[in-house]
């Protein structure tokens, strides 16, 4: 059982006429993983999640969840998954209790409502109010609660912390980590880099419907560039000294140079050794910068 992927996509494609929203996506997410699905608006993140739930149909390729085909065995898939839409709309006339009872009633397996009410307390969510009277943040909390009903094996969450304040975001991240600890797979789309950094083990980066990277977060950061600022005792050496592969001079002042270094820093250190260096400061590129690099420069593979 353990070698069955939580989510597997094989050449998953969705086109709307000439517009290809998702282009031959191949991706495997393991059970128990927290996987971040990143990309700019319109990259195809929501379409991917909606394809997994059979809300939209692929024009080519296939996907499976826990070994069940997302088209042919969609009920088996949906028995094991939960969903939080990116643009959540709830029944305005139902209050929190009624909403929870409605969606709990649609699950095949018995739902522990006591647990749901406990989570509502953790989220400081008032279930007596009608959805129409809730703020966006509170509606989002209710959406998170619906996604947690019935302890699903796979959670598909489209920007789960959208509209939540930082404190509640932390509670949600903690809830997701708890779900992963009990063995659930969490697959969520986001463009909030900080939440990806603190919650995800791996990320996939989507650009214009194509997957441009799938990496563990640590590897992505490790492989990425860093900023290096060097201060010299006298004038900075001429530019030709630093004409090295992977080295880009960003700023030059009388006695200070700033570089962007891709990969190892060793060639730069060797190039600096003949000179009198007063100070050297390095700074890892943030995940934001890494993602911007992928969004702007990376060619779809």
């Amino acid at each position: 059982m353990t070698n069955i992927a939580a989510i597997e996509m094989r050449g998953l494609t969705r086109a709307f006429g000439a517009v290809v929203a998702l282009d031959h996506l191949d991706l495997r997410v393991e059970q128990g993983e927290i996987f971040g699905f990143l990309g700019p608006n319109g990259a195809g993140k929501s379409t991917t999640i909606r394809l997994l739930l059979d809300l939209v149909r692929p024009t080519d390729g296939s996907a499976s969840i826990l070994g069940f085909d997302c088209r042919r065995e969609t009920i088996e898939v949906r028995r094991r998954t939960s969903y939080l839409p990116g643009d959540l709309r709830l029944y305005p006339g139902l209050n929190g209790h009624q909403t929870i009872e409605l969606f709990a009633g649609l699950r095949h397996d018995a739902v522990d409502l006591t647990r749901a009410y406990r989570i509502a307390q953790e989220l400081e969510l008032d279930l007596s109010k009608k959805a129409s009277a809730l703020s966006k943040g509170n509606r989002q909390k209710l959406g998170v609660l619906i996604a947690l009903l019935g302890e699903p094996a796979v959670m598909l969450l489209d920007e789960p912390t959208s509209g939540l304040d930082p404190l509640v975001q932390r509670v949600v991240w903690e809830l997701l980590r708890r779900e992963a600890n009990r063995g659930a797979t969490v697959f969520f789309s986001s463009h909030v880099m900080s939440e990806v950094e603190v919650t995800c083990e791996r990320v996939g980066i989507l650009r214009q419907g194509r997957l441009v990277a799938v990496e563990p977060v640590a590897a992505l950061k490790g492989r990425s560039g860093r900023h290096v600022e060097v201060s010299f005792a006298g004038h900075a050496p001429p530019p030709e000294v630093f004409a090295l592969p992977g080295l880009l001079e960003l700023r030059r002042e009388a006695s200070t140079l700033e570089f962007e270094v891709a990969g190892e820093i060793d060639p730069l250190l060797k190039a600096l050794s003949p000179f009198h260096v007063l100070d050297l400061r390095t700074e890892q590129a943030t995940l934001d910068e890494i993602l911007l690099h992928y969004y702007e420069k990376a060619q779809p593979r």
Partner: protein, 286 residues
């Protein structure tokens, strides 16, 4: 999964149809019955034009209790409730899709066809409440006024009218499940209802349309026969069969299409593209 969760929700959503239609049906029934003695007196000596007498159908004359009920209550109320049924029918899928709530519902482990069938059940129940609220109105009026139509005959007339409402609610569900916007589904179903009603009414007087009117649901829902004790069950069976077939068609259409998310209705162009993709692409099917 709990039983009839979606059906109960659909009934709740159609409560405006049930309560509003029910009040309308009850009030009109009571009013028509209470007005009968004065109407009868005025019209007994009159010879009505042929088109007016045609509303009385098998009941014969407008001045008889059966003819009066057939012409007034069983003409005005069904055509009004047909509109209520159309509104409720399109709300089932197209309405939820426009509101953006359909996406989360269909992400639950429930088949689309079951959603359609349960919603049809909930809407059918709401429409039934609306029409049958007319019964106590008629019975109450008969306490005060001498309108000699037996309670079972009135009930039979209701039973022959009810499937008419089911047909139009189911037709609205087909259009709501197939067309890209709710407004279009309401407009389409209403247009079909009006055309059917006109053909049925004119067909009663124009020989060349007498066969065509058999294609309209109104022809098969003939309350006047039931009011004179000639309740033909098979006519209701025909309408019920058509209703079930239409619900089946709605489920089939609904199974085969994308669901818009976030309250965005599927745009025409995108919808047409998808239709083309469905007809060409082997990977998409029912």
């Amino acid at each position: 999964m709990k039983r009839f969760v979606v059906a109960r929700k659909a009934f709740r959503d159609a409560r405006v149809t049930a309560i509003g239609g029910g009040i309308l049906s009850f009030s009109l029934a009571l009013m028509y019955v209470l007005l009968f003695p004065s109407i009868q007196e005025s019209f007994e000596e009159l010879e009505l034009p042929e088109y007016m007498e045609s509303f009385s159908g098998a009941a014969g004359s407008y001045s008889t209790p059966e003819g009066y009920l057939a012409t007034e209550f069983f003409t005005a109320v069904p055509i009004t409730l047909v509109i209520f049924a159309i509104v409720a029918g399109t709300a089932a899928t197209a309405g939820e899709e426009s509101a953006g709530t359909l996406e989360l519902l269909l992400a639950q482990p429930i088949r689309r066809r079951r959603v359609i069938i349960e919603k049809a059940g909930g809407i059918g129940a709401a429409v039934s409440v609306a029409l049958l609220a007319g019964l106590p109105g008629i019975y109450l009026g008969q306490v005060f006024v001498d309108l000699d139509v037996g309670p079972l005959r009135t009930l039979a007339a209701m039973m022959t009218t009810l499937p008419l409402l089911f047909v139009f609610a189911a037709l609205a569900m087909v259009l709501g499940a197939s067309l890209p916007t709710r407004a279009l589904a309401v407009a389409g179903a209403t247009a079909l209802a009006v055309i059917a009603y006109v053909v049925h009414t004119v067909g009663a007087l124009v020989d060349s349309l007498s066969e065509v009117r058999k294609l309209t649901p109104f022809y098969w829902s003939d309350a006047s026969r039931a009011l004179v004790g000639d309740f033909e069950v098979w006519r209701s069976v025909v309408l019920l069969t058509v209703s079930v077939a239409l619900v089946g068609l709605a489920a089939w259409a609904f199974e085969r299409r994308d669901v818009a998310g976030g309250g965005r209705e599927i745009r025409w162009r995108r919808w047409l593209r998808f239709r083309r993709t469905v007809s060409n692409g082997p990977t998409i099917g029912a």
